[in-house]
């Protein structure tokens, strides 16, 4: 039968969700980290971001977590959802069990509860890897810019979709062991600027930035980054590509 003529099934009662949230405030070190359980009724299309706001509004105003855009663009609400890094605003509760454990991203400085300071680490990495256009030629603002092939612009844009949420670093086994590792976010940025014709750095220059064990050769290809990236960036391909390019320099 055509399904539109069927009587809509009476909607089942909403699930009761239990969220175990790791509570810890570094400003109060005398209080040990604990998991606090909150229960709420699941709503249609509920994301973890909505659930957390509901808890903060109605149950515990002291709960700390970050968000800005609610649409997977700002990268603020990354956290461990049942142990796996993910964006709270892009995680639907219907894809999870009714019992959910939330913890802050490891590796980064903890601000409190689910809130971490990814920004400071990201900035340090950007400075260390010099992730901006390096041009020697002077740009004349009176002339028309050199055109860029649409395919190239697309390819650069694809890598520029990174939102620096920190999920790849939190999912990286190498970074957990060796905190000086630049991680997928850093390598992806190098790949992005390497692609950009306005950046006049050579592979020689990039080798100086990532040609050692805290750079591309430190990557052990565990691919946690690739598998958790909320923007589905093809990090495996980018890192393998950089590895081939940088390894080549070992023999010239």
């Amino acid at each position: 039968m055509i399904s539109i003529f069927r009587r809509p099934a009476s909607s089942p009662p909403p699930r009761r969700l239990t969220l175990d949230i790791l509570r810890y405030n570094p400003a109060e070190p005398e209080r040990a980290p604990t998991l606090q359980a909150f229960t709420i009724d699941e709503a249609e299309g509920m994301t973890l971001f909505i659930a957390l706001n509901e808890i903060r509004a109605h149950q515990d105003p002291s709960l700390q977590f970050d968000f800005v855009c609610r649409a997977g663009i700002c990268g603020s609400c990354a956290m461990l959802v049942d142990g796996r890094p993910a964006l709270a605003c892009r995680t639907l509760t219907r894809d999870l069990n009714s019992h959910i454990t939330l913890a802050p991203l490891p590796f980064f400085e903890l601000i409190g509860d689910l809130s971490v300071n990814t920004g400071q680490w990201m900035r340090g990495t950007a400075e260390r890897l010099q992730t901006w256009i390096h041009a020697v030629d002077r740009v004349s603002i009176d002339e028309i810019e050199a055109p860029m092939a649409p395919e190239l612009a697309e390819a650069i844009y694809e890598l520029d979709r990174c939102i620096e949420c920190g999920c790849c670093i939190a999912a990286c086994g190498t970074a957990q062991m060796r905190p000086d590792f630049v991680g997928a976010v850093g390598l992806n940025k190098i790949a992005r600027f390497r692609l950009d014709p306005r950046d006049q750095r050579s592979d020689e220059d990039f080798y100086e930035l990532i040609g050692d064990d805290s750079g591309v050769f430190g990557c052990m290809s565990l691919l946690g980054c690739h598998d958790v990236c909320p923007k589905q960036l093809s990090l495996q391909t980018q890192i393998a590509f950089l590895r081939r390019k940088m390894a080549r320099l070992g023999f010239d």
Binding site: R178, E208, D212, F217, G224, A240, R244, A247
Partner: protein
């Protein structure tokens, strides 16, 4: 209701390079401060030594498993590597040379791969906590690779030294006696599982690390990895059983060498 969760304490922030150090226009640095090329070479060498060992592993299993065809088939293969067909008479030292090269390759690979092992308690604990928290296939596989690799330092060395020091004792009866009467079958059993798992995971990781088959082939590579390990562990087990069988049968005459039927009359000593 309380649930345990592995929580790693926040890391202290690292100092980063001052931005002004980087803002200079990018001319090539003078060659005296050129960054070392060794990280690149060592990385490639680690992969290459692993690949060569894996290829040797495949060939080795093909030769050893000829015992499943017949003792005569294995005898022919063993004598082939002593070079009598080329040099007029058998030189077991050729086998020693191969064993020594593989030993050297193994040491090189172990030295290079060891750099990736967790160093010290902090790294060790950090990785275990991460692995248990993430529940991610490729991350857990690496742990298996670390431990099988660690076991291979010892298991493979014992076997290689055996081949290096007694190259003439390779043959249907000599090998079967070593396995059974010599009591080495537990070593071979452990070695078989370690090396086939380690080799299978290693080949898979080579492919994803260097992007050998493009970016979207991971599921198929995993399938190939399973097939590799399953095939060679099965073949290895059947082969080991054949040697155990032959060794038990031959135990009363342990030490006596195999004589090929055609030449047994003329070459008897």
């Amino acid at each position: 209701m309380s649930h345990s969760i592995d929580y790693t304490a926040p890391q202290p922030l690292r100092p980063s390079l001052p931005p002004d150090a980087a803002a200079l226009p990018t001319a090539h640095p003078p060659s005296s401060v050129r960054p070392s090329r060794w990280p690149a070479r060592l990385d490639l060498l680690q992969s290459l030594s692993g690949l060569l060992l894996a290829l040797f592993l495949i060939a080795h299993m093909a030769f050893v498993s000829t015992i499943l065809i017949s003792p005569q088939a294995f005898y022919t293969v063993a004598r082939f590597f002593e070079g009598a067909w080329l040099l007029g008479r058998p030189y077991p030292v050729l086998v020693s040379l191969v064993a020594a090269s593989i030993m050297a390759l193994l040491m090189l690979h172990a030295w290079l791969a060891m750099r990736k092992f967790p160093a010290g308690f902090r790294q060790y604990r950090a990785f275990i906590a991460h692995k248990n928290r993430l529940q991610h296939g490729d991350t857990s596989l690496w742990w298996l690779q670390v431990w099988t690799g660690f076991l291979l330092f010892f298991l493979a060395s014992i076997h290689l030294y055996d081949m290096l020091s007694q190259p003439e004792l390779i043959g249907p009866y000599a090998s079967a006696d070593r396995v059974w009467s010599g009591g080495l079958w537990p070593l071979y059993l452990l070695l078989l599982f370690s090396v086939e798992l380690h080799g299978g995971i290693g080949l898979y990781r080579l492919a994803v690390k260097w992007g050998l088959f493009g970016g979207k082939t991971r599921a198929r590579l995993h399938l190939a990895r399973h097939a590799f390990s399953a095939f060679f562990i099965t073949l290895g087990l059947v082969t080991l059983l054949a040697y155990i069988d032959l060794g038990r049968e031959h135990a009363p005459r342990a030490g006596e060498r195999y004589q090929p039927p055609s030449t047994s009359a003329s070459h008897h000593h």
